[in-house]
Amino acid sequence: MNHHDHTPRLLAPAARVAGLPRRTFLAGLAAAASVPLLAACGGSKGSGGSGSAAAELRAYSWSAYDDPKVLADFAAKYGPKVLVDSYSSNEEMIAKLAAAKGTSGYDIVIPTGVFVPQMAANGLLQELDHAKLPNLANLDKAFQNQEWDQGNKYTVTKYWGTTGFVYDTRVVKRDLKTWDDFFDAAQKEASGKTSLVDDPGEICAMLCFARGWHQSTTDKAQLDQIETFLVDTLARHIAAFDSSPGSSAIPQGTHALMHCWNGDARRGILASGDQDRWKWVLPGPKTNLWMDNWAIVKGSANADAAHELINYVLDPAVAVKQVDFVGYGSGVTGSEEEAKKLKLGLIDMIFPSAEQLTTMYTGVINEGQERRMAIVNKMKAKAGA
């Protein structure tokens, strides 16, 4: 709980997070057809409704990133139905908004923090009206006023999360603690039963965390070493590139060792028939930290309703439902206590300890992106050969 005391510095270390698909591209495809996630009767507006006239809100988001019940309650109370399309990378979302030049039709997007300055500079985001967000006060100070968005001009933190791995204790019968342990197990007990998140930044960052390099390094020698290690050493032990082992691989026992995000891991373990079989590790010495944020698209015709929605989910009672659904922290003050009160499963996976928080830092967006993509593609070619 007391990690909040430390987070301001931790969450704002100069940098920006690399784009992280929360789900696989495949899962995105399955949900692609612009499913109206929610079609609750937009009946009588609740008393608290500020009277926005919008019939619907269009959100462009990571898939399965909102509790459908929360969106239904919102529609019941305030009127607008929330229609969600999903993307699998920040780049994809930005490219679409940039190409549409304000005519995308979306009202809300969920960019990862480090992408916000560029989006703002390119005129893709609309400034927030804090008068319409009274619940912003509920957001922990640690999650306000980040370096990439001073004064929360454009964004409000939605979730924050980290990267680690889950392993099957029936296969790996020793304690794994670090990234080096992960590599070791992947080449031994879990060889051919290991999966990696399908994200170049995350895959390349693993060795950086282990070696103490910056996770977004642009140093050629380091990138060369990363390539050699991934392609020549690790690739042949990898069974799959799966950004969401929580949705099926963990419940179905498909792999023994899975690189994954904490919320996804929690969801998978909760869905597993035998929760004790799986062990979640936040590996040392260092690991990742990222924040995804609410933002309103420039040109949105329903800005009032969008503010309403953001304000709504900043209510601690609502926030805790969202947290339980995705398994990521929301930054709303008291949500951890609320979660404990409600006895949500595997709370430790949502809220790492203060000690663990000190090992996390965010990546940056830089010219190393292309190289990382090339390295991972080469690794995939090798793994498939």
């Binding site: 698909p21 591209f25 495949l26 495809l29 399955a30 699998s88 990378s89 780049e91 994809e92 930005i94 490219a95 940039a98 560029q118 390119n122 999966s195 994200d199 170049p200 690739a235 990898i238 069974a239 799959a240 590139f241 799966d242 099926s248 691989a249 419940p251 179905q252 026992g253 498909t254 028939g273 967006i365 010219e367 992106q369 292309e370 993509m373 090339a374 593609n377 080469k378 995939k380 070619a381 090798k382 793994a383 498939g384 050969a385």
Partner: protein, 311 residues
């Protein structure tokens, strides 16, 4: 037999034949030539910055040099292996099935059988592939069933193996093979098969010498209908094969989806189109050469009879 000696009907003579093809040509122009042209145009450009996908301010072939790297060639080799094996497997399964359907099944039952063949198409392609993932996983149906039958004692996983990839490929593409084969075989006059048997050929020789050669256009269509989409499909392979199902299409898609480098992605797409076309041409050439060699001696033994020259 001598069916098409009649000239076109007089009424049709009045219509310029080009006119009839106009809708199709317009369609092809709009939905095939234009997109491919655009992709080709992009492939000559570059990705100017982190937030732009492509620009054609400088025209360059550099993207092609990047595209034709090790990664592409390794991925392509793997893809080609899956493409060829999958197509061959579909043919091996589809041909006897289509033959049975066209020759042995009573006409009024064929419709039912064809409908059953198409059952998999009634659901979304991704969903049915993911369905196989569930079936094949260690906690899945296949493993449980085999465990409860005592065939195995530890959970087995076929998932993320080459076998699973081929299984998914056959499952998703078999109808594409069966339908043209069925149509082609159905069109082979049954009396030709009878004539062959009457002349002393058993049913294998009849199939090899009469039925299959006459169904060749259908076989070619089936091979193309399976092979081409399969070479571009990276979903089936990735869902069931995981890392073993790495396909070159994934590489192209990642340039568009993740790297947002449309220039490089387009160059890869163009290379892929060209390489697939070359593969098909090469296969066709090899096939034609083999047929020619196999029938060469037979042709020679009958050559020149018309001129009355001795052997």
């Amino acid at each position: 037999m001598s069916s098409d000696r009649r000239g076109p009907r007089a009424a049709w003579r009045a219509v310029p034949s080009g006119l009839l093809a106009t809708p199709a040509l317009a369609w092809i122009a709009l939905f095939f030539v234009a997109p491919v042209g655009l992709v080709f145009w992009y492939s000559l450009g570059r990705k100017p910055g982190l937030y732009q996908t492509h620009a054609n301010d400088v025209l360059t072939l550099d993207r092609y040099r990047e595209a034709l790297g090790d990664t592409f060639l390794t991925s392509f080799a793997g893809t080609l292996r899956i493409g060829l094996a999958g197509t061959a497997l579909c043919l091996a399964i589809g041909l006897p099935f289509a033959y049975w359907l066209a020759v042995k099944v009573r006409p009024h039952r064929r419709f039912v059988v064809l409908a059953l063949v198409l059952v998999p198409f009634w659901t979304n392609f991704l969903i049915r592939t993911i369905g196989w993932q569930v079936v094949l996983s260690p906690e899945g149906f296949a493993s449980r069933a085999m465990q409860s039958l005592g065939l195995i004692d530890t959970p087995f996983s076929m998932l993320f193996t080459r076998g699973a990839v081929l299984l998914g490929v056959v499952y998703n593409y078999l109808p594409m093979m069966i339908l043209p084969l069925y149509v082609a075989l159905d069109r082979v006059d049954g009396s030709l098969r009878e004539a062959s048997k009457d002349l002393g050929a058993n049913r294998w020789r009849t199939a090899l010498q009469v039925t299959l050669p006459l169904a060749r256009p259908g076989i070619a269509a089936g091979l193309l209908l399976v092979f081409i989409p399969l070479m571009g499909d990276y979903v089936t392979a990735a869902v069931l094969g995981g890392a073993r199902g790495n396909m070159v299409g994934q590489l192209v898609a990642s340039q568009f989806q993740q790297a947002q480098n449309w220039a490089l992605g387009s160059a890869m797409a163009v290379v892929l189109i060209v390489v697939i076309a070359l593969t098909i041409l090469a296969t066709a050439a090899v096939g034609a050469a083999c047929t020619w060699l196999l029938t060469h001696r037979r042709r020679r033994e009958l050559a020149g009879i018309a001129e009355g020259s001795p052997a």
